[in-house]
Symmetry: C2
Subunit: 150 residues, 2 copies
DNA sequence: TATAAACCCTGTAGTAACTACAGAGTCAAG
DNA sequence: CTTGACTCTGTAGTTACTACAGGGTTTATA
């Protein structure tokens, strides 16, 4: 009984952690260098050995990244995780700011979408002498609204 | 008469081009290195001298960038500009592909928006023991849809 | 005419968030 | 005992710029 006791006691090597979190190996080492993942203990041969806690933390990072948080924002969130206390207000503030940014990006992209759609439509109807799409890029003073996208 | 004849005959220095196009000086030199702007003639002292054609081309680049085209895409568009001919089909194809990408990004961002909104709302109501926003980041398998954002 | 301010030059290095090696060491199976 | 799969460190590449350092040039003014 307890067939995989050995392996679960021994922890995960980096490749196994990568598989468990669908995260690139190089990315894991990068997060470690960036101070987001704590330095794990090493085997005799110098291999990193990870435990369940690392899996959780890495999943936290990946999910935050999936939601578009920057690494700097993830760092801030992790500080709240580490400093147990009434982190709710700060976490909410971080997320609210990020939500604002996301909405601004959506607005910007919608403007682009509209302009592109119009240009393509103008290009489609008629075999005009010069490509109206290209002419539009020469002439049109496009958006210049938020310049939020980095 | 013809008060500013001298300056208009002489062309623009890089700072004037930058002002005319609201484009950073360093960015102009960068576009030159990247092969998007042709090498301009130089003054005796080695200063770049730009003409109207450069202004137009740089505006074209800036407008394309404002619409979210990558520099590689801008390069392709400029090839169509340079190779006069029936560029309409190709230009439309480029723009259509880009439009598809933009729409995918909008979709992704809308998902983020929804998840963030939900998280923040959950965090707002009630003084729960652990921050539900942070718990959600630990638990939730977020989006993992397109992974389009680079 | 001298000189200071304002401009321009090249070349390099920095940013975000990874990704991709090279060249070496470690470990498990046959 | 050797092959292959894995891991290690360190460095360099990516995108689209931006920011210097350390010089040269022009122009306006004293």
């Amino acid at each position: 009984m307890d067939i995989n006791a050995e392996s679960s006691r021994a922890g995960l090597k980096i490749g196994q952690l990568a598989q468990a979190t669908t995260c690139n190996i190089e990315t894991i080492r990068y997060y470690e260098r960036a101070g987001l993942l704590p330095l794990p203990p090493r085997s005799q041969g110098g291999y990193r050995i990870y435990e369940l806690e690392h899996v959780k933390r890495l999943n936290f990072i990946r999910r935050s990244r999936d939601l578009g948080f920057s690494l700097e924002e993830v760092r801030a969130l992790l500080r709240l995780v580490d400093a147990r206390g009434r982190s709710c207000n700060e976490a909410r503030a971080l997320a609210a700011q990020h939500l604002t940014d996301v909405r601004a990006k959506i607005t910007d992209l919608k403007s682009m979408e509209r302009v592109l759609r119009t240009m393509i439509a103008r290009c489609k109807d008629g075999n005009l002498p010069d490509c109206p799409l290209i002419e539009a890029l020469f002439r049109e003073s496009c958006l210049r609204s938020g310049d939020l996208a980095p």
